[in-house]
């Protein structure tokens, strides 16, 4: 890792809540029409981490999801594929097999997802297992309890250890911003994660409400921007949970475009953690092509 002196995480970077929300409202007033809309919808589709993270997940469901990932909508074979399929560790090998021959990554949650309430060794074993099973990307959770307690070095060390356990796999660090509550906490957790070695920072597990929000995402994007200015290193961003509609996805892309610029508008640096978003994007894409409003009856639920 680049030798950049660590900030003092006990110092809080002030963030004005209303200012953040006003900025988001203003960005939401961007009107994305015509070609830019089609381009944005397809871009969003290519950025999806198609996700299933339920106790009742079966191999059959994962395989079905993978086929959706590879070919989102059969009548339009030229559409981009999604970026990754995101599953629990014990489903990684199934997903890996099902995606064989595609460029789609397998992402696995790990580290006692979603609560993270386990010993470090358990988390490291969980991580190593996912990587051994073939995960290209690992989505870890931070220890929110330790963070809220003010034990920032614990959080930092844990992320660094998981990063090491990941080997070549990319590490996404889930902050679970719904539990951190304030934007200042979100900012601090983002900084800790990036300095500890995260390749991506991610808002949420999807198991806590609120999950991803645009203001939280904006705060994280700004943290990424400052980190880039400081270190020259580009970190990726993944909002996850609650993003179901194409319109929301476009709004997120506007946030990225106007905060970090074009270089981040790629699946390498931006992902959506979502499951039902894909279909809404597809319906909008088909509407743009045909001029006809679509029904969900014509799109597979996976």
């Amino acid at each position: 890792m680049n030798k950049v002196s660590l900030p003092d995480f006990n110092q809080t970077i002030p963030i004005d809540q209303i200012g953040v929300e006003e900025r988001v409202a203003r960005l939401n007033s961007r009107s994305i029409k015509k070609e830019s809309k089609v381009q944005g919808l397809k871009l969003a589709l290519s950025m999806i981490d198609l996700t299933t993270l339920e106790g009742k997940d079966s191999e059959g469901k994962v395989i079905q999801l993978c086929s959706k990932a590879k070919k989102p909508y059969a009548p339009m074979p030229d559409l981009p594929t999604v970026a990754a399929v995101c599953v629990y560790p014990n489903m990684v090998s199934t997903a890996k097999k099902a995606l064989n021959g595609s460029n789609i990554n397998v992402a696995s949650v790990a580290t006692a997802f979603p609560s993270g309430m386990a010993k470090l060794q358990v988390k490291l074993d969980d991580t190593k297992f996912a990587v051994e099973q073939g995960a290209d990307e690992v989505d870890m959770v931070i220890s929110r309890g330790e963070f809220l307690k003010g034990n920032f070095s614990f959080v930092f060390d844990e992320i660094a250890a998981v990063k090491e356990a990941c080997g070549d796999a990319h590490l996404k660090v889930i902050l679970e911003t719904g539990e951190l509550e304030t934007y200042e906490n979100v900012r601090k957790a983002s900084d800790i994660a990036m300095h500890a070695g995260a390749d991506f920072i991610k808002t949420s597990t999807g198991k806590v409400s609120p999950a991803a929000t645009q203001p939280v995402t904006l705060v994280m994007l700004e943290a990424i921007r400052d980190f880039y200015r400081e270190t020259g290193k580009m970190i990726g961003m993944k909002p996850a949970g609650g993003i179901r509609k194409a319109k929301q996805a476009l709004q997120y892309l506007v946030l990225v475009k106007e905060t970090l610029g074009a270089d981040w508008l790629t699946p390498d640096y931006f992902r959506f953690g979502a499951s039902s978003l894909a279909n809404d994007l597809l319906m909008q894409i088909v509407k743009q092509e045909t001029g006809v409003y679509q029904s969900s009856n014509y799109f597979s639920n996976d």
Binding site: D16, Q17, I18, G19, E21, E181, T182
Partner: protein, 287 residues
Amino acid sequence: MSDRLEVLKTYKTYVGGKFPRSESNRIYRIENPGGKHIANACRCTRKDVRDAVVVARSAFDGWSGRSAYNRGQILYRIAEMLEGRKDQFVNELELLGAKKKNAQKEIEISIDRLIYYAGWTDKISQVFGTVNPVASSHFNFSMPEPTGVVGIIGPDESPLLSIVSLVAPVIACGNSCIILASTENPLSAVSFGEVLHASDVPAGVVNILTGNRDEMVNHLTTHMDVNAIFNAINDSETKKQLDENASISVKRVKHYSQSDWSEEKHENPYLILDFMETKTTWHPVGA
């Protein structure tokens, strides 16, 4: 009658907490209605005006920065000091031809008027400030603040009471001021300066000039560092001239000529507000 020779008072100006003579060293005669010489008053010049404005400006920050409670106490202290010198003022007014009864009444009302305004210092922003329920996520409130340096042009009648009535609302809320006293009857104003001096009023908050008002009034009312004018002269030409002078730096002008200064209507918080500016502050409400 004692054989003792009375000590006469030299009337000077009151500027910056001191009692200087006019820089010009000019004086003019003050006589009683019978033509008897009473005193020599300073005949101030534009340079005295200039100096007084500088002094008033430098006193403004400190005075407006005092707590409202402290300003109220000081105004009350002025009333206390005036009460103690009642006889002096009665005599002075009598010398100039006033009836004793009227002179007594004038000073008593002056004292009470000071007490009236002393009580407003810490209430004006409660009564006239507002919290404004804006539609966005902001806390928003408006508070009156003093306008700054005020030029006061005193009338010829009720030479003590009129000056008290004009000065009290102006300084109650934190302004500093320069008074052009009546040309004819300047003595009570100068003596009032002595009361102010003995009352913990910080130097420069009130400055009193005497002389030929016509020689000074344009210099005071065009002065770019004067923020407002409180005029008690009822003359349409003068008023028009003051208005025009004010326009060169957007001064606030309050014309307030009165025939009877003893009326209760002069005790009025709206006269304080005339020399205040409303400042509105916004701040987001967030966590």
